[in-house]
Amino acid sequence: MVDALQFVFLVIAAVEVLTAVLVVTAKKLMWAAFWLALSLVTMAGIYLLFQSEFVGIIQIFIYAGAVPVVFLFGIMLTRTRAMEDVP
């Protein structure tokens, strides 16, 4: 029998693993960045569960808020075709 905290942890961990897998399997780099952000947010959720709120919030702040944006900028600046042609 799992208690509520464990249940929440399991859900978050499952989402985290799923999104982490999606980061590497996503076909479009934009989606990969999106999944990465989601994965980082769920990681912050795990920190929050462990009562380390400061680390969790900083995790959202720096990793989820800023890092994917930097990634996206990088993608857009380096890839020659960020946009797709109309099919």
Binding site: M76, L77, T80, A82, M83
Partner: protein, 360 residues
Amino acid sequence: MAEQVWINMGPQHPMTHGLWNLRVKLDGDTIVDADPEMGYLHRGVEKLCEVRNYLKPIVLMDRLCYVSSLTWAHVYCKAVENLMDIEPPPRGKYLNVIACELQRMASHGMWLAAFLADLGLLTGFLYSLRERELVLDLLQLMTGQRMNQNYPRPGGVHNDLPPGFEDEVRRVFRYLRRQYKGYKKFLEDSPTFLMRTQGVGVLRKEDAINYGVTGPNLRGSGARVDLRELDPYDVYDELDFEPVVYEEGDTYARYKVRFGEFFESMRIIEQALDRLPQGPFRIKTPKRAEGEGYARTEDPRGEALIYIIGDGSDRPYRVKIRSPIFVTLSALPMMLRGHRIADVASVTGGIDVCVGEIDK
């Protein structure tokens, strides 16, 4: 985006007042190249004039530019006068000057409104339109219409001044002088406005002349070219005024030129009202004409030229319209190159594009 992309700014783009298309090639946010495309509003005015007698194209000319319609009818009438070799009476000339200068103020008022809206200052847009209403009221008092006045005629003007017009003009101008001084301070004290206009779209004097840029845009580049002074028509040689010239050649200089012309136009109108002679305001004109004639005047946007050929019938054989902004657009790619996409609004707003006269 590392690749260079063409972006259509128009024909349904909020930047374009009217229907034209500015294709810009972007490298990131910087403009590499530009290509104006026009013709969406082409009505074939030149062809239409060929199947009408000499009086009727005045209405068409009124619709050339919906912002300054009277000046276009005026230059057409001057061309017809030159073709027919007639001289309007002095009162007609004075009335033409008054009407044209009022129209110039209305046109510049519309320009200021559109320019400020381009810069994102919607409050200024509405303020400027509010003051323009007063000028339009004066025009309505004088000609009976707010726009498309159909007022000048070959050999004079359509009607005389209404009673009480002079007092009304002076009353309105007292108010306008105060208001425009306030707006001048409001804009020129605003660092944001200066940031957006200073050093943007610089047009050097030599380039401006070579590209055929005329009017306030040329005077903003430091050339003292004002056809009212250089090549006086009507009675401008009897009036005392000073062309507004600024040296910098950027959008801010063009703004200052146009803003200064508000005050110059008010001076000209007041002088013309002071000297207004009595007598007839219109003479009869012949129906047929042969030969050629052209007239060029200082339109609010630059040098307007109409070249008419008559073949002895009652219809013009060929009418050619030179619209100032049509030519100025050819300098637009040069002015835009190297600037940001955000400057497109500032530059095109600053040169005062009017699509009706571009597309004829």
